[in-house]
C-alpha cells in the first residue's frame, strides 16, 4: 500500500514539477521555419471564368473627329491626283510605243 502511495506521489511530482534539462539551454531547440509573413493562406491557382471564350470582333469606329475627316479627304484627293498623273504618263508612253512599233 505504501509503495502505491509513494508511486502516486512521485507521479504527481513529475506532473507538477517543470524542471528542464540544462542541455536544452545550451544547445537550443530546433525551431520550425517561421511563417510570420504568411498572413493569408495561399489560394490554389484557378483559370479566370471567361478564359475559354474567344473575343468578339469590335465594330468600326465611325465617330471620327472633323480634323481626321479632313485629313482623310485630303489624303484621298492626293491619291486621286496621283492616279490621274500616272494614267496620263501611261497614255503618253503607250502612244510612243505604238509609234515605234509602226516604224
Amino acid at each position: 500500500m505504501i509503495e502505491k502511495k509513494i508511486l502516486f506521489l512521485l507521479i504527481t511530482l513529475l506532473f507538477l514539477n517543470s524542471c528542464t534539462s540544462f542541455k536544452k539551454a545550451i544547445t537550443g531547440e530546433k525551431k520550425k521555419p517561421g511563417s510570420e509573413f504568411m498572413v493569408i493562406k495561399k489560394k490554389p491557382l484557378t483559370l479566370p471564368p471567361n478564359f475559354g471564350d474567344l473575343p468578339e470582333p469590335e465594330e468600326e469606329d465611325t465617330s471620327d473627329d472633323e480634323e481626321t475627316v479632313e485629313v482623310k479627304q485630303l489624303l484621298k484627293g492626293i491619291a486621286k491626283e496621283k492616279e490621274v498623273t500616272t494614267n496620263a504618263s501611261e497614255g503618253l508612253e503607250n502612244s510612243i510605243l505604238k509609234k515605234i512599233k509602226k516604224n
Binding site: F15, L16, N17, S21
Partner: protein
C-alpha cells in the same frame, strides 16, 4: 467544515498566496531581465547560475512537444491534480495539510505560467564541476519539498503501524 472555512481555510489560503507570489515575483524578475538584455545568463557563484529556459512539458523536460493537443492534455491533468490536492486539504487534518498547501502554492505558480505564457520559465541552474542538475524555478522547490515531506510522512506512519 465551517471551522475549516473560517480559520484553517484562511491560513491555507494565505500560505498558498505567499508561495504563489514569491514564485511569481522571482519569475517576473528573470523575465524582465530577459526582455531588457535579450537573454539571461547570470553567474552567482560556482554552484548556482541564473539562466532562463521555457519548459512546455512536465518535470525533467519530459513531453516537451510543440503539439498543442499534448500540451492541453497535460495542462488539464495538472488542473485535475490541483483539484485533487484541494479536496485532500479539505478532508485531511494535521501536518499533511501543510505539505499539501506547500505543493498547491507551487503548483498554482506553474499552472499560471502554463495558461499565461503557454510554457513555464525555469531559471535556477545548480551545477558542480561541470555537472548540471535540471534547471528549475521557485515553484518546483516548494512542490519537491512538499512531496518529499509527504513521502517521509507516509514512511514514518508505516513504520509506526508496523511497530504497534
Amino acid at each position: 467544515m465551517r471551522q475549516f472555512l473560517n480559520k484553517k481555510f484562511i491560513f491555507y489560503l494565505i500560505v498558498t498566496v505567499i508561495i504563489f507570489s514569491f514564485d511569481r515575483i522571482s519569475k517576473l524578475y528573470v523575465i524582465n531581465i530577459a526582455e531588457t538584455y535579450g537573454n539571461v545568463d547570470i553567474f552567482i557563484n560556482n554552484f548556482i547560475n541564473i539562466i532562463l529556459i521555457w519548459n512546455t512539458g512536465i518535470g525533467f523536460g519530459l513531453f516537451s512537444f510543440e503539439q498543442s493537443n499534448i500540451y492541453n492534455f497535460i495542462t488539464l491533468l495538472i488542473v485535475l491534480i490541483n483539484f485533487l490536492i484541494i479536496y485532500l486539504i479539505a478532508i485531511n487534518e494535521g501536518i499533511k495539510n501543510y505539505y499539501l498547501v506547500i505543493i498547491l502554492g507551487g503548483s498554482l505558480g506553474n499552472l499560471f505560467d502554463r495558461f499565461y505564457y503557454s510554457a513555464v520559465p525555469d531559471f535556477i541552474d545548480l551545477n558542480y564541476n561541470g555537472f548540471h542538475w535540471f534547471v528549475f524555478n521557485i515553484a518546483d522547490i516548494f512542490i519537491t519539498i512538499g512531496i518529499i515531506c509527504l513521502i517521509l510522512d507516509e514512511i514514518i506512519i508505516n513504520k509506526k503501524v508496523k511497530h504497534d
